[in-house]
């Protein structure tokens, strides 16, 4: 069964009437206002919009690292609002791969150890963990840099390691927060190629926040967010 076929049957992400408020001192700031979004399985969605429009907040809700004030967020068949903090952490480790704008690799670990990090939470043996991490590094074409530390890698290479780390647990959904925002044109293209590969060849659903129209053009669907509301 191809990724497209799965997509027609189940949604990877379902955001239903979600509101999100932040409390700043005595002031309540509305970030998302009754937002609805469906991302079918295997879809590559680009979220665009001006700064402060709520893109990253929505991404955090989908990734299960923040909670909605009201409404439902269902990802990979699980309603995240019903999970405790501990359950949510466990759920994240199995279902979501997160790609940050600034890579966020652990500086004291080499590329292989960084990719292996999420697998430490699995019951895999050390050998199995190493094999999987090496496979992920091979996919992002950095197997030869496995012993290199983040400080010894270029920005593009660091982001490729970060992508390997995001996919090593074989998650259902990849969420990316401006993954090319800190990269030059060529590196950005390489990263987008990789993301497309994971979407098309491995069937990963991707939700990507970006300001870059060229990055957004790689997605199947582009949605625009403004003042906490989807405008298209």
């Amino acid at each position: 069964m191809s990724a497209t076929e799965v997509a027609t049957k189940t949604g990877a992400v379902s955001v239903q009437n979600v509101r999100k408020f932040y409390q700043r001192d005595s002031m309540q700031i509305k970030v998302l206002d009754g937002l609805n979004l469906e991302v079918p399985q295997g879809e590559f969605l680009a979220l665009m919009g001006p700064s402060g429009s709520g893109k990253t907040t929505l991404l955090n809700l989908i990734a299960g690292i923040d909670r909605a004030t009201s409404g439902r967020v269902v990802v990979a068949g699980t309603e995240l609002g019903a999970l405790s903090e501990g359950q949510l952490a466990k759920w994240r480790s199995r279902n979501v791969g997160f790609i940050f704008q600034f890579y966020n690799l652990i500086p004291v670990l080499n590329a292989l150890e960084n990719v292996e990090l999420p697998l430490l939470l699995s019951p895999l043996s050390k050998r199995e963990r190493r094999e999987r991490a090496m496979t992920a590094l091979r996919i992002v074409r950095l197997a030869d840099r496995s012993k290199h530390y983040p400080g010894q890698l270029s920005g593009g290479q660091e982001q490729r390691v970060a992508i390997a780390r995001a996919v090593v647990t074989d998650p259902t959904v990849l969420v990316a927060d401006e993954p090319t925002g800190d990269l030059d044109h060529q590196s950005a293209e390489e990263i987008l190629d990789l993301m497309q590969t994971f979407n098309q060849e491995f069937g990963k659903s991707i939700v990507m926040v970006t300001h870059d129209p060229r990055a957004a053009a790689r997605a199947h669907v582009q949605r625009h967010l403004d003042k906490g509301v989807l405008t298209n």
């Binding site: 903090e85 952490a89 994240r92 997160f98 966020n104 004291v108």
Partner: protein
């Protein structure tokens, strides 16, 4: 174990910080353990006293002697079974304090009756009883200098009345041992010689430092002590009689409340190190906010993140503790050979880094690590992913 590389690599990356924290912890544990060992040795010495023995000394101070005539008067007091003069001779071997060992002038026959701790073969005992210049030495002292029965050696006292312009010559008549189970802590580095030799060599100027009495029943110790002191109440030289344990305690009390002082120093140092280490750990965790956010994003539960910080702090404590114990072990081993301090330290036969002190030191190190890591660990536990990643 699978998280060990993450913890160890952090410690290794900031090796200077790790090293300074470990050294600070080590100094703290070194001080605590060394001081506690001294306190233990002092306390151990206090409990060696025999309840059936009383010690009579000058009422004012140990520095002053008692008249020789007191011995017979004390011996006549009801309940007193035996008495011996016991004078601290202060003899120095080879004229150097670093070779010092305890040496006392006693009356051989009553001494051996009152102190069953000193065990001698019968022939050596008889030899000593009949040899004016003879002495008996502890097994450890004999082993240290390779002395055998029949060997000669000389001592020169640093106490003015006992300085006669030449050293005292002694013959080893016997080498005593003891039953370590029955008499733990009995000093086998000491030497005893005949008081008569001292008395005659000093032109009968040697007074009596202390008189040890063997009494009929420990229950009568209070009554007999009072009776002895009452006997000399109206004389020029009044006495103070107490049990051997109390005598040892008062001897040590001359240095003030040693245990309180030493423990006070240890606690003050430990508290200071705790603040320094807690601060270091807080900085280390604050610098790793991004990492904590990433770990939590990857699905590391807050409890696990907290545990990683705590384990790192405990590891620092453990390394500091181990190093501190090694230093303390070395210092305690070397202490008896340090000029001046060594002379005092050698008075305590129980001096040594005991398993109890080792456990105490390691426990203190781990507790320090735990306390130092607790607040940073709690901060890591409570850190919200969205907050810490936003700060990056």
């Amino acid at each position: 174990m699978k998280f060990a590389p993450l913890i160890l690599k952090h410690l290794r990356k900031n090796w200077l910080r790790t090293l300074s924290t470990v050294l600070a912890m080590a100094v703290c544990i070194f001080l605590i353990c060394t001081l506690q060992t001294v306190v233990d040795a002092v306390n151990y010495g206090l409990h060696l006293g025999n309840a059936s023995r009383l010690v009579t000394r000058h009422y004012v101070s140990l520095v002053f002697n008692l008249p020789n005539s007191y011995k017979n008067k004390i011996a006549a007091i009801p309940g007193v079974q035996n008495t011996t003069i016991n004078n601290w001779f202060g003899g120095i071997y080879r004229g150097d304090m670093k070779y010092f060992f305890p040496n006392m002038a006693v009356e051989p026959e009553p001494f051996l009756q009152i102190y069953p701790e000193a065990m001698l073969p019968e022939d050596q005992k008889q030899a000593w009883l009949h040899d004016g210049r003879g002495c008996i030495i502890g097994r450890k002292l004999a082993e240290k200098w390779g002395w055998k029965v029949g060997d000669h050696f000389q001592l020169e006292s640093f106490i003015p009345p006992y300085r006669i312009g030449k050293p005292f010559d002694f013959i080893v008549d016997g080498i005593f041992d003891t039953d370590p189970v029955k008499y733990p802590g009995w000093d086998l580095t000491a030497m005893y010689f005949n008081y008569k030799y001292l008395y005659e060599a000093t032109g009968q100027r040697a007074g009596v430092g202390t008189i040890t009495e063997l009494i009929d029943d420990p229950k009568n110790a209070g009554r007999i002590s009072k009776a002895i002191d009452a006997e000399f109440e109206n004389s020029d030289v009044q006495t103070k009689t107490e049990t051997e344990q109390a005598f040892r305690a008062s001897f040590i009390a001359m240095a003030g409340n040693l245990a309180l002082l030493l423990n006070g120093i240890g606690l003050a140092v430990a508290f200071t190190i705790l603040l320094v280490t807690a601060n270091t750990m807080s900085i280390a965790v604050r610098e790793r906010q991004q990492e904590i956010g990433v770990l939590k994003t990857l699905g590391f539960p807050s409890g696990l993140v907290m545990a990683l910080v705590l384990i790192e702090a405990l590891l620092l404590g453990l390394m500091g503790g181990a190093l501190g114990l090694i230093l303390a072990g070395g210092a305690i081993h070397a202490l008896p050979n340090v000029p001046f301090i060594g002379d005092v330290v050698r008075q305590f036969p129980g001096l040594g880094l005991s398993p109890r002190i080792v456990s105490y030191g390691l426990g203190a190190a781990l507790l320090l690590g735990l306390l130092a890591g607790l607040v940073p660990a709690l901060l890591a536990y409570r850190a919200r992913i969205t907050d810490v990643l936003r700060q990056v």
